[in-house]
């Protein structure tokens, strides 16, 4: 049956092919590129927003080649409010945020879903590498994609289950190389476009530089880098932007030293030797569970994107939080990152929460 689908087109190869696949399946595809505005561009160029969006141009070119409609949707204010401002605030509080998860939940799978409804579309499709399929207990579940190297389920852990029937991930059953091959075969303008790495509004990966541009008012005073047991080992130029487990950029002798804790209130970065950073337990807050309740029994969990999962148990705590006990210690869990939980087979996403503290 032909359905109308809204495809979130970033101007990259993945969402281009996602749109192409739905169109090829006979659906009426409406491509939408989000104009995310100044938060993004200020970080890139330090300049004021201009009207040209090169990525939207790429998406428009692909849409024209596919014979589908394409629109540019202004979500500048929402992106600033829901993604960029919390990103800055989290770092200022000494945590390590993952803005992509809020962007997915609030922009792509709430605002764009409403957009889809406004346009009479069945739902929103994206170029994410993830799968939506029948869950064992009935209903729909979120599963790892076929291409494990591109797996983005970590960034989707807090989607409400209620949206899954209005979301499609057309690339979930494909390998990345097949996606590129398909893009070439279809002659899409984005076929050879390089992979975007890291955060879209911090394209050079320099978080501290981005913070300086995004929040120029925040003080970046020099402060001590100290070992956990006391002695000051060096100096930093502002504690915000360091993350637990980080080794580079500390400039300390007698290493290797790793960031253990970021105390922005005291403008202090605490460091430790590697082994001390492993944790057997994390406490998470604002947990969300796709089955509606925390999982009982053994699960798999990871505390950072691309970390190997380990066996774990989930213990709900009061106030919507949980404690995760790991069968083997995990490396440097960072407050602000997500602890994401899959089923024991490591296939289906069960949910997770935001790390408040290790131990």
């Amino acid at each position: 049956m032909t359905e109308r689908w809204l495809v979130a087109m970033s101007g990259g190869v993945d969402s281009s092919v996602a749109a192409a696949l739905l169109a090829r399946a006979g659906h009426e595809v409406v491509g939408v590129t989000m104009d995310l505005g100044s938060g993004r561009e200020a970080a890139v160029a330090g300049s004021k927003r201009c009207c040209g969006l090169p990525d939207a141009d790429d998406a428009r070119e692909v849409a024209a080649a596919l014979g589908i409609r394409h629109y540019t949707a202004n979500y500048r204010d929402e992106f600033e409010r829901e993604v960029v401002a919390p990103f800055v605030a989290e770092y200022a509080a000494g945590r390590t945020p993952i803005p992509c998860i809020a962007c997915n939940r609030v922009l792509k799978f709430d605002l764009l879903l409403r957009r889809a409804e406004a346009l009479g579309a069945r739902g929103v499709a994206t170029g994410h590498y993830a799968r939506i399929d029948r869950a064992p207990g009935g209903g729909l579940g979120l599963f790892r994609p076929r291409d494990r190297a591109k797996d983005q389920t970590y960034f989707l852990f807090d989607l409400p289950r209620s949206v899954l029937d209005r979301v499609a991930f057309p690339l979930g059953g494909l390998e990345k190389r097949d996606v590129r091959a398909l893009a070439r075969e279809l002659g899409l303008a984005t076929a050879e476009k390089p992979e975007s790495q890291g955060l879209c509004f911090v394209p050079d990966g320099d978080v501290r530089g981005a913070l300086a541009r995004l929040a120029p008012g925040d003080a970046r005073a020099p402060g001590p880098i100290a070992a956990r047991d006391g002695p000051v080992l060096g100096e930093h130029t502002g504690a915000a932007g360091f993350t637990p487990g980080q080794r580079r950029g500390l400039g300390l002798a007698g290493g290797p030293w790793y960031v253990a804790e970021v105390r922005t209130a005291e403008n202090t970065v605490l460091v430790a030797r590697g082994e001390e950073l492993r944790a057997s337990r994390v406490r998470v807050e604002n947990a969300s569970w796709l089955d509606g309740a925390p999982p009982e029994g053994p699960v798999r969990a990871a505390v950072r994107y691309r970390h190997q999962t380990v066996s774990a148990r989930v213990r709900p705590t009061s106030g919507g939080g949980a404690e995760l006990d790991f069968a083997e210690p995990v490396w440097a869990p960072a407050p602000g990152q997500a602890a994401v939980v899959w089923d024991a087979a490591d296939e289906r996403v069960l949910g997770g929460g935001w790390i408040a503290a290790a131990g």
């Binding site: 040209g52 409609r69 949707a73 406004a118 346009l119 009479g120």
Partner: protein, 378 residues
């Protein structure tokens, strides 16, 4: 499904007469109008005829018309000629090609007064007169607004300016071919025109320069256009512009009445089907083909897309070049609240608009408005 195009203020389809003239000149009249030989003479003849056609529609003498690349260049030309230290009065609802020039003036030195408009979008002549000061070098007010179609009392404003020795510029890009113009009778020093708004080619327009008005060329490097606009003339586009003006002029009276009736029926239908819809701008002093309506609780951007998916092309009136939408600065300047300014739809009719098309729009619109509202509340 036959597409319904209701965005003539953005650009109008090329008139058949304009296409014929454009094609004939593009195919046959390749000579440089500056050349001494017969090929050059032929090009000059095409320019001369088109100049007369444009001048006739504007109600001015042919020698006062300078061809430019469009109304943006015409507007820019007037502002760039202002000396440092001068004062300019500019209406707050002008096109960006005026407002951004005024903003640039501020950086260069001249002082700029942004003239407020009323909730109906009109300039109050008394307020205008009060804004003119000793040393005011220029006042600039568009004849008809690009978003709302609201018509300003240009003759009165120009008289007020003239009485104080202030030069007056009028952006008439949206008005040419839509209203009978007798610019010659008004003390307007410069007026800007665009071809594609009235069914001519894109990339061509004109600047009217009243005899005796000061003039400084924006582009230099030759004696083209009697030294007022250097660069080899775009002969085919000029020919198309001229033909479009002649065709628009011949149809003007009947067409203005026809589209006004259609527009009024469209508004009556919308007001019946969506009772809380708000029509923006003066209902009386407005171009006959323009209807600007806010639908409370609706994202104008989403409504434009929803209509487009049903093959109805309209605008929020404020699309930026990327296609994404800002709340209309024109409506904000009129005092329309932000939420309503984001909920606006601009429908601009044209020669090919039919009653049946508008009937279809009226059948679609209420359900789409309801759907967009529902989705937003969800």
């Amino acid at each position: 499904m036959e597409p319904i195009y209701l965005d003539h203020n953005a650009s109008a389809p090329l008139r058949p007469e304009a296409l014929r003239a454009f094609a004939a000149a593009a195919a046959g009249t390749f000579g440089n109008a500056s050349s001494a030989h017969a090929f050059g003479a032929e090009a000059r003849a095409v320019l001369s005829r088109a100049r007369r056609q444009v001048a006739t529609l504007a109600g001015v003498a042919p020698e006062t018309i300078v061809f430019t690349s469009g109304a943006t260049e015409s507007n820019n030309t007037v502002f760039r000629a202002l000396g440092s230290g001068a004062h300019a009065v500019v209406c707050a609802t002008e096109h960006p090609s005026v407002l951004e020039e005024a903003a640039a003036l501020r950086v260069r030195g001249p002082r700029v007064t942004l003239l407020e408009v009323g909730r109906d979008g009109r300039v109050d002549p008394a307020r205008f007169a009060a804004a003119l000061a000793p040393g005011t070098a220029l006042a600039s007010v568009a004849l008809a607004n690009h978003e709302t179609g609201v018509i300003q009392p240009i003759a009165e404003l120009a008289e007020l300016a003239a009485a104080r020795g202030v030069r007056f510029h009028c952006d008439a890009a949206q008005a040419l071919g839509k209203l009978p113009l007798g610019l010659r009778a008004w003390p307007v020093d410069w007026a800007s025109f665009s071809a594609h708004k009235l069914g001519g080619p894109k990339g061509i327009g004109a600047l009217y320069v009243r005899p005796g008005a000061p003039f400084e060329a924006l582009l230099r490097g030759g004696a083209h256009e009697r030294g007022r606009r250097a660069g080899t003339e775009n002969v085919p586009a000029v020919a198309g512009f001229g033909a479009a003006c002649e065709a628009a002029g011949a149809a003007l009276d009947g067409e203005a009445k026809r589209v006004a009736e259609l527009r009024d029926a469209l508004w009556a239908g919308i007001a019946r089907a969506v009772p809380d819809a708000v029509r923006n701008g003066s209902h009386e002093h407005v171009l006959p083909h323009v209807l600007d309506v806010s639908f409370p609780g609706v994202s104008g951007e989403a409504l434009v897309e929803a209509l487009d998916l049903e093959h109805v092309a309209v605008s929020t009136g404020a699309a930026c070049h990327s296609g994404s939408t800002e709340p209309s600065p024109v409506l904000l300047a009129m005092g329309v609240p932000d939420a309503l300014a984001r909920a606006a739809l601009r429908m601009s009719l044209g020669p090919t608009t039919t009653r049946a098309q508008l009937q279809r729009v009226l059948e679609l619109l209420p359900a789409l408005v309801a759907r967009v509202r529902r989705a937003r509340a969800a």
